[in-house]
């Protein structure tokens, strides 16, 4: 965990409003599911850092955890912070805090891995795919252009099945429909994407008696567990600290889906 000013290697639009951002950074060990917080502006507006998952560790061939000389992020322009980010050019520096959070529990090899991603949820799963074998990725994308990101999985040993909202590639409809057909009793599910999708994935998995890990998103101020802003309600009570809430930044972003009180989300 460190706070560092890092250089932008590239910042290119790979699909409309989707950017790949390469950052030069001699990384500490990074696990799939870790994220970073970027300060998109040196000014006071926007004031807070923005959280982004890690898509790739550059110059590393690690497994489980990765150490490299850079990272690659993928982000979608949705508001003013990501818009400012999109305007940055190679060579500029940006301040980064990370790696943050807890990654996905590393699969022990005994189960069949199903990854399910919605939209930007593909980001941490790409790292996971790189450190596992024989997994399948179910990828729900808005359209063909976004779905084209799946080609990045060619360098992983992972099969990809796509669902698009408009039916332009793969199955037309929701990616959770793919999960229903794919799920076996010896599966383990790793999910990242919009809350609605995660909740569905959780219900489907629990019904099948299968473990499902979800990576959650929440508005964040600090990213390091101190502001207590990114709370999600848990079903289980933490006895030691006597609390019902979990901090997504420091106790997550990956949780066992059974731990989460989905109705409170």
């Amino acid at each position: 965990m460190e706070s560092a000013a890092v250089k932008i290697l590239y910042n290119k639009e790979v699909a409309p409003k989707y950017f790949k951002l390469g950052l030069s950074w001699k990384t500490p060990p990074i696990a799939p599911g870790h994220f970073v917080m970027l300060r998109v502006s040196d000014g006071l507006d926007p004031l807070l850092r923005r959280p982004f998952g890690i898509y790739n560790v550059l110059g590393s061939k690690g497994k489980g955890t990765f150490k490299g000389n850079g990272i690659e992020l993928v982000y979608q322009v949705v508001g003013k912070g990501t818009q400012i980010l999109a305007n940055k050019a190679a060579g500029e520096t940006i301040n980064l805090l990370g790696p943050l959070g807890n990654g996905f529990p590393h699969p022990d090899g005994s189960k069949k891995i199903i990854m399910i991603a919605g939209g930007m949820g593909i980001v941490p799963l790409h790292m996971l795919a790189k450190s596992t074998e024989g997994a399948v990725l179910l990828y729900g994308a808005r359209d063909k252009k976004v779905a084209s990101m799946a080609k990045d999985f060619k360098d992983t040993k992972c099969k990809v099945k796509i669902a698009t909202e408009d039916g332009s590639v793969g199955k037309k409809g929701l990616v959770t429909e793919l999960l229903k057909t794919e799920l076996k009793s010896d599966s383990v599910v790793y999910a990242c994407g919009p809350v609605g999708m995660l909740k569905q994935a959780s219900i489907i998995s629990q019904a099948a008696g299968v473990k499902c890990y979800v990576s959650l998103e929440r508005s964040m101020a600090c990213g390091i567990g101190v502001c207590l802003g990114c709370a999600v309600k848990a079903k289980t009570h933490n006895e030691k600290e006597n609390k019902n809430y979990r901090m997504v930044c420091s106790e997550g972003p990956v949780f066992d889906s059974e731990e989460i009180d989905w109705d409170a989300l």
Binding site: L47, C227, G229, C230, N242, Y245
Partner: protein
């Protein structure tokens, strides 16, 4: 801004407040620095004058439902709901590691009844390593039908004198800015026995999601902090200084040394850095370095700077 390496405290930067000697006038504000230890990967706690820990209550508290935060122009709203581990857990699990640092530890406390405040203060006094208690009076008084202690001078005074009577520690009272006249509050808590006064806590605000036609925060309103509120905070410290006999600790939107100096020149003996810790976890240490640089450049001392504003 050049960083200096950790070294012996500069005497020109030191300040004594309510009998506590601070190596420099920069503390971290309650609720923005956890229990301090979370920041060790990013900053040197020994560079801080003090650490004010997250508000502590008698029993652990769950806090408010989520969403609890939202960004605003040059600021943020929070409605954490004072989630905390409780005073006993703090004393047992956090304090031992924290008191190893060369920085003053201040326990921020709150309650829903005066008895709550008293009991928390008592337990902290009995423990080792806490230098002072900061009372957060921006809480609803459940016994009085939810009116906020911090906006009623007589209720505020009652809390302060009750805490004062339950503890051997110096008492800092932290004021709410959501009042018509801050001077009235200053006088009330001072007469009730406050050894120092810190200000400001957050301004009450709200943000609406216009597409959903719902408030963004689960609790509807929250507390506004960050640079947006700094002009209001500096004004209140200056007004407080007109009447205060005890030392003031200023805060509200401090992002760098220049901002901190505004508060000191307006009359604060020390400052607290809050929201800035989220933007840069090394902020408070940088503020301390910057104040030292200013004092050297202007050939002055902290003591001479406090309340040095010239008018006219």
């Amino acid at each position: 801004m050049g960083r200096t390496v950790n070294k012996k405290a500069n005497p020109k930067l030191g300040v004594e407040i309510a009998g506590i000697k601070f190596r420099n006038p920069v503390m971290t504000a309650s609720g923005t620095f956890g229990y301090g230890l979370e920041f060790t990967p990013y900053t040197d706690l020994n560079k801080l004058g003090g650490i004010v820990v997250k508000g502590l209550s008698l029993n652990p508290r769950q806090g408010n439902p989520s969403p609890r935060i939202v960004e605003t122009p040059c600021g943020m709203l929070n409605a954490i709901g004072l989630q905390n581990v409780g005073v006993d857990y703090f004393i047992k699990e956090k304090l031992p590691a924290l008191r190893k640092y060369k920085t003053q530890i201040i326990a921020n406390i709150f309650g829903e009844t005066i008895e709550d405040y008293m009991e928390v203060a008592k337990r902290l006094s009995d423990s080792e390593g806490v230098s002072a208690i900061e009372i957060n009076i921006s809480c609803p008084n459940v016994k009085k039908g939810g009116i906020v202690f911090g906006t009623d001078p007589s209720e505020a005074a009652k809390v302060v004198s009750a805490v004062k009577g339950s503890s051997r520690l110096p008492i800092i009272t932290k004021l709410s800015p959501n009042v018509t006249d801050i001077k009235v509050m200053v006088k009330a808590v001072e007469e009730a026995g406050a050894d120092a006064i810190s200000l400001i806590n957050t301004l009450t605000g709200m943000v609406i999601d216009v597409e959903k036609r719902k408030p963004v925060l689960a609790t509807i309103t929250g507390g506004l902090s960050g640079p947006a509120i700094r002009p209001v905070a500096v004004r209140m410290v200056w007004q407080a200084k007109q009447v205060a006999k005890v030392p003031l600790i200023g805060m509200g939107g401090i992002m760098n040394a220049r901002d901190a100096l505004e508060f000191i020149i307006a009359g604060a003996s020390a400052v607290q850095v809050g929201t800035a810790n989220f933007v840069d976890p090394d902020s408070a240490a940088k503020v301390a370095d910057g104040i030292e640089e200013y004092i050297t450049r202007h050939k002055t001392s902290l003591k001479d700077l406090i309340g040095s504003m010239k008018v006219g």
